[in-house]
Symmetry: C2
């Protein structure tokens, strides 16, 4: 019988931190300390990883699955800040937020994450200017990505915006066919893109018809990125492959 997935499991875990751009230039001592402190945690669909305003203890790297970052407005509506999948880091900007998480995080489906103590990162950023500079580059990428997102809300139609969302999930250094795995709940993608569910469904069908991509359940199959770039990137001020793609890492 499969062991029940639980957030209580927090096992030591092997992780190649230096494969992440943020840690590439870091010293061995810091990386070893981080690796030693790394713990695998699992969350079931719908479980909260942390809440907006919680005291910050860890930042996270996603090993498998999708995580939703969200906030709630004063009148009780949920606003999806972002959705992230395998390889992305979240919670690390809490360093600059008076010790509290600036959003809530929830498992969108069963997820495995690596939890890393934020104090180690915080202290190392203060001591190691190279890491501070790498973090600045990472923040600049995120800023570009957000600038593009705001631009797209004005200039792209809904289908083009879904195309851009899919392109961001591709390995943009590869040019061939690819399968893109979306969260099972596609309405979450709609929320992330600020679309009503019915708008999203219509726009996704239109994207399929315009580009020839195939949609099978929660998997999108493309023969070549150019199917999407020809359609989406024309109405964007960045060129493909675009600099914004590594933003989450």
């Amino acid at each position: 019988m499969q062991e029940k997935i639980s957030s209580q499991i927090a096992l030591p875990v092997e992780i190649d931190l230096q494969s992440y751009p943020l840690f590439r230039q870091c010293e061995g001592v810091f990386v070893s300390a981080l690796q030693e402190a790394a713990r695998e945690r699992r969350f079931e669909k719908g479980q909260v990883v942390f809440l907006h305003g919680d005291g910050v203890e860890c930042f996270y790297i996603i090993r498998h699955g999708w995580v939703k970052l969200y906030r709630e407005t004063l009148d009780g509506t949920q606003a999806v800040v972002d959705i992230f999948t395998t390889g992305h880091m979240f919670g690390e900007t809490a360093i600059f937020e008076d010790g509290m998480y600036p959003y809530s995080a929830e498992a969108v489906e069963d997820v495995q994450v690596i939890a890393l103590p934020i104090d180690l990162l915080k202290n190392e950023i203060k001591a190691n200017n190279k890491l501070a500079l790498d973090m600045l580059c990472s923040m600049a990428r995120y800023r570009r990505r957000q600038d593009r997102e705001i631009e797209h809300r004005s200039l792209q139609n809904a289908s083009q915006r879904i195309g851009c969302f899919l392109l961001r999930l591709l390995n943009q250094s590869e040019d061939g066919a690819a399968h893109i795995h979306l969260p099972y709940d596609k309405m979450l993608v709609a929320s992330r893109l600020g679309m009503q569910p019915e708008t999203f469904s219509r726009a996704l069908s239109r994207l399929r018809d315009k580009t020839g991509i195939r949609i099978k359940g929660s998997t999108v199959e493309i023969d070549s990125p150019s199917q999407l770039t020809d359609y989406s990137c024309m109405a964007c001020s960045s060129e493909y492959p675009c600099k914004d793609i590594l933003s989450g890492k």
Copy 2:
């Protein structure tokens, strides 16, 4: 006769750099070097300060007037990235952009700016970890602001979004009456907020009716920030006064 405003004028200028959060913790030697190199430049309405992709030489602080940051999409449409006024800094993130400006900048009306050599900033960030950390805090504020902007495009109506834009221009530590000066061309605010001109005009009238603010040409008069916060901040996940306001500085 008044001297013709020209971008050719580049006079040495007195500026209290340490009044800017980014430079508050900086050493005397660096600040003196920056102050010595500071030049006042004036641009007439419509003049380009720099173009997207130009090699980076300077970053800028606005002394007076409004500056528009924009990009152009492949199909030729202009996307307004942001509009900034007195006290705001722009161009400094070009440090992280392979030596090229990530957007174009244009004077929206006659403006005075302080031009500062970006190499001085770049070298100091590498040498001075405190400055790198302050820059990280500044980037984190901008990131929060962009996150809010994306959230608002989903959750706020057009009038609430204009209300939020006006609140960002206030000194949020003061609670009384205030006059807010908009660019003469209000359609620029519409572009910044991703609205069609007619939507913007209707939404501004509605905001006036809902909140009792007064609009006289390009000046907005309010009796108290609560006129706007009661209406706009209810549909936002931040509270007023909000942490995002210093983002441009």
